[in-house]
Symmetry: D3
Subunit: 292 residues, 6 copies
Amino acid sequence: MENKILKIGLPKGSLQETTIKLFKKAGYNIHVSPRSYYPVFDDDEISSMLIRAQEVPRYVEEGYLDCGLTGYDWILEQNAEVVEVAELRYAKEGFRPVKWVIAVPEDSPIKKLEDLQGKKIATELVAYTKRYLKSKGIKAEVDFSWGATEVKPPYLADAIVDLTETGSSLRANKLRIIETILESTTRFIANKSAWRDAWKKKKMLNIAMLLQGALTAESKVGLKMNVPKDSLKRVLSLLNSLHSPTISQLYDENWYALEVIIDEKKVRELLPKLKDAGASGFVEYPLNKVIP
Amino acid sequence: MENKILKIGLPKGSLQETTIKLFKKAGYNIHVSPRSYYPVFDDDEISSMLIRAQEVPRYVEEGYLDCGLTGYDWILEQNAEVVEVAELRYAKEGFRPVKWVIAVPEDSPIKKLEDLQGKKIATELVAYTKRYLKSKGIKAEVDFSWGATEVKPPYLADAIVDLTETGSSLRANKLRIIETILESTTRFIANKSAWRDAWKKKKMLNIAMLLQGALTAESKVGLKMNVPKDSLKRVLSLLNSLHSPTISQLYDENWYALEVIIDEKKVRELLPKLKDAGASGFVEYPLNKVIP
Amino acid sequence: MENKILKIGLPKGSLQETTIKLFKKAGYNIHVSPRSYYPVFDDDEISSMLIRAQEVPRYVEEGYLDCGLTGYDWILEQNAEVVEVAELRYAKEGFRPVKWVIAVPEDSPIKKLEDLQGKKIATELVAYTKRYLKSKGIKAEVDFSWGATEVKPPYLADAIVDLTETGSSLRANKLRIIETILESTTRFIANKSAWRDAWKKKKMLNIAMLLQGALTAESKVGLKMNVPKDSLKRVLSLLNSLHSPTISQLYDENWYALEVIIDEKKVRELLPKLKDAGASGFVEYPLNKVIP
Amino acid sequence: MENKILKIGLPKGSLQETTIKLFKKAGYNIHVSPRSYYPVFDDDEISSMLIRAQEVPRYVEEGYLDCGLTGYDWILEQNAEVVEVAELRYAKEGFRPVKWVIAVPEDSPIKKLEDLQGKKIATELVAYTKRYLKSKGIKAEVDFSWGATEVKPPYLADAIVDLTETGSSLRANKLRIIETILESTTRFIANKSAWRDAWKKKKMLNIAMLLQGALTAESKVGLKMNVPKDSLKRVLSLLNSLHSPTISQLYDENWYALEVIIDEKKVRELLPKLKDAGASGFVEYPLNKVIP
Amino acid sequence: MENKILKIGLPKGSLQETTIKLFKKAGYNIHVSPRSYYPVFDDDEISSMLIRAQEVPRYVEEGYLDCGLTGYDWILEQNAEVVEVAELRYAKEGFRPVKWVIAVPEDSPIKKLEDLQGKKIATELVAYTKRYLKSKGIKAEVDFSWGATEVKPPYLADAIVDLTETGSSLRANKLRIIETILESTTRFIANKSAWRDAWKKKKMLNIAMLLQGALTAESKVGLKMNVPKDSLKRVLSLLNSLHSPTISQLYDENWYALEVIIDEKKVRELLPKLKDAGASGFVEYPLNKVIP
Amino acid sequence: MENKILKIGLPKGSLQETTIKLFKKAGYNIHVSPRSYYPVFDDDEISSMLIRAQEVPRYVEEGYLDCGLTGYDWILEQNAEVVEVAELRYAKEGFRPVKWVIAVPEDSPIKKLEDLQGKKIATELVAYTKRYLKSKGIKAEVDFSWGATEVKPPYLADAIVDLTETGSSLRANKLRIIETILESTTRFIANKSAWRDAWKKKKMLNIAMLLQGALTAESKVGLKMNVPKDSLKRVLSLLNSLHSPTISQLYDENWYALEVIIDEKKVRELLPKLKDAGASGFVEYPLNKVIP
């Protein structure tokens, strides 16, 4: 029987480095030679290709690729008919979504969506923007922008639709946001007929599970502590939102060892309370993967 | 009377640095703040803007800008109706044209233009490519490529139309050139109605002259030499292709000083001949501008 | 009720990067925009500001800030009346104190503190140096040095008081240390009246606890091992300096699993002894926080 | 009694950084001043020196050093009589061996080893290459190459013996491999008489154990999971190749906690199977050292 | 007779690189070893030292140095009694003065100098600022700022006195300039008694002349052109502001060769006029030094 | 008739960049692709190859190359029988020779050459060192050093023979120079039989002339000045060491224009004297080539 292969498209550019690192944490080492567009997985059943995020949806939809990672924004822009295998909560600049916003010059008379009627809008996201405006009953000229979109108002456009993370680039160009039209994270998408292939579907689901496990671990830590017998109840009640902490008996029989997996952010609030409740000997350690 | 202003578009990206340097040599200091798209000229009559080369033709044609610098390729791609004020012989990677070529995988059955009939071609230069193929009677699917075009054959396209300088990137991707469809250099273009404005036309012609002068100086040097009276004729005959060298009498009356402006490349061949002909005391020096 | 805010000063410059990383390990993500001096905590109850370490004590003392991190040296230099919430054992170049030393040219006749009588001393730490010398009964001219202090002897000063880590910069300038006058680490300091505010005090103590926990974890690791029943006593005696290791029964009932938190440096000595005592299956893992 | 010292040679150059990091993970902090060749260990019983990998075998053999780390290739090249304390599976470019291969131009008539008879071979590994060829009954001229060996064929040599990792540098120079003559990893070697010194031998064995422990941890992870009582047998059978996983009772008595140390690469295959078998709540965490 | 030595102080930091380059153009090669503060001139009669610009005036005044280069701002701040040998028109960021300005938050009620009465001002230029305010009859608290001065208003200061070039850093911190209190360029200063030493004075004047010559050449170019006999008068009238252009007869007797030294900036305006007047064959070339 | 080709070897490594630049100034543009060892000249009659300086003499001697550039040190080390076409006064670190010196630890009892009898010397220049010592009647063990030679004394060698420019690396390793055994610059060398080929010899001589011309121009400048009639004699006497300055009549008939080519270093001394003698209007300009 012939060896089966899953063809996967990886996003070249701003998502590339984070994606490669995420796969590594998930257990896949990917060797990317400088200047080559064919990263090599240490898994003979996977062949891969680096493609611009904008083009991944099209090539997955058309079946050139079985699956791929790309932004939700480009899936919508291409209006691609693909299967969304998993949402992966990271984007260009970290572990939170990016936003596409409509922005105008600070001193523009345009204050709300309706004011865009008949105006000229520059954007890289032409198709989605047109659909969005149409759905709101607004007619405007939407022009493709090759980049540096934020410099265009007020001379070359009345408004723009552009990507923003913190809004600082918009502020630096004296632009004002009037509406967020899309929040986008990375998606693992599949071609429809590849999805119907049992072997490929299983393979994709496993990859998705491992990627999710690695991504979840980014925001979680392991926390161990020692708890005296008579504090156990109070301590457990503080942890009650969490499923079944691991408890074991210490050598000194009056003490228990507790271990939980917890959001890193919650530690700073929970720890003083746990201490007040009688726990001590806290040890926090990093994680590679967390899979429920 | 109100102060007149010439609005000029400078190409952001690969042509930017060379363009700024060329203006500097031409006598215009341009201050480009990091993150600002409005370079400041030390000439109050000029306001400028950094715009992608691809977009300069459109904005000049529509009159948002009076004039601009961009590649000939993008003028053709946009099919823009603009005035070409001057050709400036530099491009992305130096002082020679870039080429757009049709390339296919080394082992592709496609050998000549005709073989492209019915094939799929990826390129950033969609409109020009379509017109070119049509003029040759060829029907093919021409798709827009967001970049990394050279990686697409053979899986994602049968052929590409891409920019090349030395061909090394094509070779690295095992592609074979089958035809050059466009050679491109930088052009200084003007909006048609700006060109009819006498003040603006005069201003643009002066800028073009100074840019040309700076560009010419890149490949030329000044060469001085001493020539004894009785060698003068022989030496001058070697220089005869050149218009009127400057000759002056040396303190020692049996010698003349000669000075010519000459292609730097010709010096290495001419100099041994001049020496044989009796000239000596050669001094070669660099130039900032050469204007006929 | 109005939202309470704790105003904290973070040291700009050599301590900055380590401080931000330490807060991150402690559980606080701090976003520092390039060119902004107002880092943003992911905790709405904290507002922060980047200030030179030299100025933190003054602004905390005067109440412009509730608290701040700075070097012990600058607290003494400013003679600031502030509360020391915690010592954090890191400094400019790592997890050990920096030293301020008096140094003279290698061939200087100055051999001991007393020889400085009537001499000229250059330093950035003028006030502390003056107080120190006065306490030893020595009168000398102490001049402020704007930097590059180590180049000043012998031409521009007889001696210097300067910061040193390994002494290599002093040796390179052919200087000899005659006395260490101050060892300095980072301190978390508070304004006196902020300290009397119960909410602020609680907040500061929590932050201090988490920072200490993160700092402690830098030098500690978790060590697990398997121990056969009849070796348990010997193994525990080797670990006896450590409080209550966590012990659990293995599936194979003749074995125990032991886990201790231990100085990373001690592992290399202890491990061969533990092995000799019968332990095996050692696993060492990294920690994020250790809080007693 | 006088303090004993172990003199160790560390490889300067391509192995240096990885070696220093490995020692750090093993528990030894090494301070390397820029421009100094005497790294300082935080262990008073060790003195060290940076020496080219090529020279380590010679200086260990002659007793200038008690021990050292170097490549197996250079031990063979120097034909050094030393004790191999441990193989450490890393090399110039990562955690796998490097290869020395015989390569010829792609279009060379030389197809196999025998065709090298009477040919000219350039290499940095002259002595080993000569011995190797002699053992195969081949006479050829083997010349020392100062570097850039891969550029020499076909003009300056008929064949080369050169280091390769992925073969990409050879391909770029249009060379074809005809035989691998040596695979090399890093070795911890000892001088013979130092090995007979009980104190030094014990010290070297401890260092080797810690280095091996750190190296093993590079490819392994800790994996914890929760298993319901009635799935325990199935889960354990999947893990049966592994020695004694640590099992403890959860607070909820129907569940066990399992913990294993496992090759990171195996996790991606094993995890879906473990999940199918009933395990859940997987947590994977990184390791510093693994010592059996 | 003993060899005489001139001791010169060079400004370490922001002025350093430009200063070294200027000396190089003036004919002095200065070798600056990394980490050494004693640059070596290729002139045995000069010994030099790198010192912070702030300290140069003091050490020149006190006679530790014979002369030095520093900013006019620091001479005034130190109130140093020194001889100004020459003004050199360059500063931190190029060939124009820097400005010290009083700035306040954009929305501050402080609108003019008088509004500073009783306010708190942070600055690195404490002494000069105090003198300036006093001369205007204003009493305010002027505090020394260790840096990052622009971040202080409004929380840590009401106003600042800070260095600005283009004002962009002030704008980024939302500050508004209310007055420029000092424009500063680099000065070549001498100690008073060194100035009375004939040998030193002569040496300093020569250095100053060469530095000025190199500095002048930065903004000037040589311009050659050919002029037909009957255009000479018109061309010369366009050049009349310039002293004695060099004129020589061309081989073709109806033509003259003209050569002038001219501000680079004027070329772009003058050249079209010269062309209209009949000149042609323009050649512009760069200069190293221009000394009247 | 077949096209003739000159094969030239260019030194890879420390001399490479300077050599390529020098050829460029000489009029040859050389395109060096990253990772390629075959630089392409813009002269079809030249083919070139990058080879380690150490190997150039051997390959020129053996006729694999017609000619090449390399250091005089490696010619002597290889004892190569080649023709020296030209000395080019540059080396590793600039436009002056490098030195090979014998150095010993500062506190070594070895004080002079004779003290090396029976000692162990490490060097990269084994063959030349052996010949040198033999010629002085000294027997010593000379071992090949793979690099980092300066770290070897006193533990691994008694003395070294190493390259030095300023001696700073030696001082940093506490070594003392006891003798300079070789001063080396770059040489243009030819194969003996290539030298007998008239076409190749002519080609090599032209290249040598142009390289020399470019190199000479590095240290020379053009100097123009105006001289009043009655000062001409005095000014000329100051310039008398220089051959025939170019003199022309100024428009103002009482003035002459003088122009000389002069060592850049002499300008700073000569200029004040020329000024005293009545000259003025000095203009110094840079040169590309100076060929007598």
